[in-house]
Symmetry: C2
Subunit: 713 residues, 2 copies
Amino acid sequence: MAHKSVTETSIQQTRRAPFKSGDEATGRTSGKAAPTEARGKMARNESALVPPSRVIIDRIRPEIDGGKFAARLYIDQEVEVEAVLIVDGHDKPKGRLFYRHEDAKAWQWTLLKDKGNDIWTARFKPEKLGRYLVTVEAAVDRFTTWRMDLKKRVAAGQNVQVDLQIGILLIESWIPELLDDREKRLVGAAMAQLNDLSKGESFDEASISAVLDDPALKAIGDKLFDQKSLVRFEREIPLQIEPVIARFSSWYEFFPRSASNEPGRHGTFRDAAEKLEHVKEMGFDVVYFPPIHPIGVQFRKGKNNVLTTEAGDVGSPWAIGGKEGGHTALHPDLGTFADFNFLLSRAKKLGIEIAMDIAFQCSPDHPYVKEHPEWFKKRPDGTIQYAENPPKKYQDIYPFDFECADWRGLWEELKNVVQFWVDRGVRVFRVDNPHTKPFHFWEWLINEIRSERPDVIFLAEAFTRPHVMAYLAKSGFSQSYTYFTWRNLKWEIEQYMNELTQTELIDYFGANFWPNTPDILPESLQIGGRPAFMQRVILAATLSSNYGVYGPAFEHMEWKPRHEGSEEYLDSEKYQLRHWDWKREDSLAPLLQRLNQIRREQTALQSNRGFRFHPTTNDKIVAYSKSTENGERVLVVVNLDPHHKQSGTVELPLIDWKIDENETFQVHDQLTDARYFWSGWRNYVELDPHSLPAHIFVIKRRAHAVSEFDYFH
Amino acid sequence: MAHKSVTETSIQQTRRAPFKSGDEATGRTSGKAAPTEARGKMARNESALVPPSRVIIDRIRPEIDGGKFAARLYIDQEVEVEAVLIVDGHDKPKGRLFYRHEDAKAWQWTLLKDKGNDIWTARFKPEKLGRYLVTVEAAVDRFTTWRMDLKKRVAAGQNVQVDLQIGILLIESWIPELLDDREKRLVGAAMAQLNDLSKGESFDEASISAVLDDPALKAIGDKLFDQKSLVRFEREIPLQIEPVIARFSSWYEFFPRSASNEPGRHGTFRDAAEKLEHVKEMGFDVVYFPPIHPIGVQFRKGKNNVLTTEAGDVGSPWAIGGKEGGHTALHPDLGTFADFNFLLSRAKKLGIEIAMDIAFQCSPDHPYVKEHPEWFKKRPDGTIQYAENPPKKYQDIYPFDFECADWRGLWEELKNVVQFWVDRGVRVFRVDNPHTKPFHFWEWLINEIRSERPDVIFLAEAFTRPHVMAYLAKSGFSQSYTYFTWRNLKWEIEQYMNELTQTELIDYFGANFWPNTPDILPESLQIGGRPAFMQRVILAATLSSNYGVYGPAFEHMEWKPRHEGSEEYLDSEKYQLRHWDWKREDSLAPLLQRLNQIRREQTALQSNRGFRFHPTTNDKIVAYSKSTENGERVLVVVNLDPHHKQSGTVELPLIDWKIDENETFQVHDQLTDARYFWSGWRNYVELDPHSLPAHIFVIKRRAHAVSEFDYFH
């Protein structure tokens, strides 16, 4: 290969193409457009190829797979974007973050701030839900570099005549087209003053500062970027701004058909609406119903999942579709659309979102089977392929063939199903087994729905392998069920939480912790009694900002499996009506109520950022805290043993918490309202699972002024 | 926004564009081309948009910044590429790795193997140095999925008539154009046999296996990819195949001008050539010389870096350029090009690479200053800008202005300087302060040089901030100096090594550990005496596969700084001639010799992969091991205290090492030749720094057959 000259060779350089917007720059440390017009004019010789910029924008964060997917951020919080900027030598870089909602044409920008270690950050407040794009521009900050050096030279008593002249030339190179008359006058005056100063013999920082550190001059300098070294990151990075409920939600699942007040009577939407009051009292804000559609008759499963039915068996709500209709119809025994609307409006009044179940599969009686046989797979014998996990057969369920010839018709129809419920006011969807349908289908469907309604969120019920769960989250699911249900030991909980909060998963995986579901009665709840239920729900509600329970089975501490070794509930509501006494004396409802109240009061519990574990001297005691940027801090200590009292010491990171080693601080238990004075980084705890297996402490430092009413803040 | 139909919407899908090569497929589990021709024909309806593939290629590794930079791999090792492949439902994916050297047109491919947890891998042996490109294709493995299910159905005693018919249809869909006549006959026979089997009443796995698990049929299945779901990763990922010396090298730096046998006489290339024998005896394979060019006279620094010179002061070799020439000239006192060639040929005979110093800066006397004043920055007073780190001034050094109007001329000239030495046989370059020159300059220069000579390697002397060092490595430097020089405590060493080996740095950052350099006499060597020198070089040589020392100062244990608190050597060779007694009795040369021999014998020490720390009960004792894929294992235990004997127990990961808890295994100290029998995962060590502060153990398990001569292997 022959030697290539510089001009022939492709130097790996980020594009310097200006933003398309033709608006002129207006900002100071932030603004509304990129100064595209001016950029070209700065090049000394327009026909010459300028050297590649000396500034490197090494990476932008958060960024998922190089911008292929969007990180998940939330409308109530400022978006913080981080870039690594480096320049050779000791020159300083200068950068700005550009951002816009994808619906907006114009970019806005704000200056990046040096965070140390070559990391620069900027924040902006998102104005609306949906997709934002961000990118970064950077240049050599010749003015600041020169100013910094000048300070050092003056301090060392050096003659800076020539250096002041260099500064004048620098300021002269500022883009005059971007300055208004006032600014031009200011710049001119500064140059004249510097010129005077440069004629002196000795140089004092005070008189130099008087000219150079004038805020008005600085503001001009801030908005001007050296065009010779200006470079733009090679990609625009998408960020998804989510509604708050995507990050902070407390779910309660119940079967409306079991909501009747009379044992044996099929519950209705009106019954369920009545129960909402109780759920609201417990403090939940999302109520999730298993499917509410007509249920198939062919191959209907009987009580406890047997293959034969008895008269009156109601079938599984997930066997969707009957002669009364399919995914857009209501089960006649639950009520009419008028009843359903009543339920929704009741929920709305209570501040509860009703979450619908999206289970894209059909019973053999579903209207689609006759109307669209092309949407199902046919076997060579002419029968329709039912669901299988060989050798297991699920003859009551027909899966869709997402690759069928009319896949577009099918996909559109399924999107219309979701849209149907969105149009009726539903904003939260729990998707049944999304991992058994194509990933691209979900990505498309969710994008389609959210392009109009970015306030709609989807929870993925994918209890499957880690990479599959992660990919669904990247594809668009705001929330996901997790392995929490089976993580009981201290090391298991620590390992899993660290994976969720200390890896890139924190940027896109919206964990939702469930101690139980209608499908899963975990072993811990079968053998641990009341303490286990308390432990598991306290963990769920304080480890994860999203959590949920399946009730009333949970607060009534249902613990009997169908048989030993099974995780299925005995007499599961999946296959039969149940009657619940919602006012049971021994219910855990008061604990749930208290937990939800603590979650509402303690901002730190409303996000999984700021999470960390703390060492304890006892493997049965797990300790962790959540903190906000404002220094609000919740420390949770849980005894994981459902049988015995456990004690030990908890080690606290006092330095990080800015608490002196000798300082006495208050820990205020939100569960019992007890207050303790602690000091030092090791403190003793003792927890009896039979009374209360956990502390949820708010950490308060002593107020500095004794005169304040509350001595701790 | 209006609803979009599927066809209108951009579904985020990886391209399915076939590879450009028109060659036909030949491979079985590997091959030479992509079956591009066939792919289109499989689509049922060519005019219809097929649904996006159900297979997701989630990521490929190693991948640096989404393929912007190349991971660093080595010519003596197989390249292993990993991809995460997922499909919805319980279908299996199937994938193949495509790879080619960038000079080759044709792609080669090999099947990916399932490694578990949705990770698939394949390996290939690189045939030559330079840049390779890799990518991955994947499809649903419909045949394997069906075969797997069939086994389960038969095992459960189910009637599989219809399933066998489904299999026949599957095989029928195999691409007939890609089969030769023999293969077509085979496929036809298999289909007929399956048809016969499907007519039976009961089904036994043996007769089904006889047809389906026939290796010839399997080979046909392996090479055919389901065209409906075939998808290709969206990018081609570059990999840099490096010479072995980039990964495994032992450096020895000395000043040729101090190589004279007579005190006071300026050393020559011939003197240096003689010393090579000694260096070879110590076992080093790279000898690095500070700059060997003419040295400037103006502003020359005197002994111990003073601003005034005395008669006979030789100046710093980094003040490059005098009336005798610049970067392509030789210092006349060192000798002529004939002498230099003699030195190179002597090195070649000894198997030593001579590493040149590339310091792109000029003394005021450099010919460039007169011939190309446009390559330097001018100050407003007309003088040339000398090097500065305000308020410090380096008036003996003029830096180049890499952004000058004639930047292309300058860049080309500097490339020609490197090429000049490459043309004379130099293959290793140590680059002085690369972080003070533009990053894009290095990326361009290194690519240019290596496009012809990929066996040339560059070591970055950038003792600077972490992101800058990492970026230089990404830009093309095969090796880099590190912070090892200042990492002395156990936690410091552990933290730093974990950063280098357990993060993505392992894929591109070629660490080179130096206990000392002419610029750095670290505090540890100033106060620790002989034990400190032993500790530091044992650490360097066993922690990092690349290491080096600056000698003879190192093995002679020079420890005096210019003044207290300084890291500069007293009477540094940077500013004066020194005379060394290369045969000194108390020299550490024998230790260096032994270390280098151990490094040559133990493959595990020749790479930083397979590195891990082991817990010890004493903070002064650090323990770590390196392992190869073949199970070769070196365990190193170092007492970090230069003053006192230290003892403790080392905890070994016996399970990972496949050693039974009750098994007795041998640890064979390579430094002393002592052998110990150990058993269990905790073993006692005691190390006296005044005799030998470390063990370098080879771990040997007992041979299974007592008859073998060597009972441990």
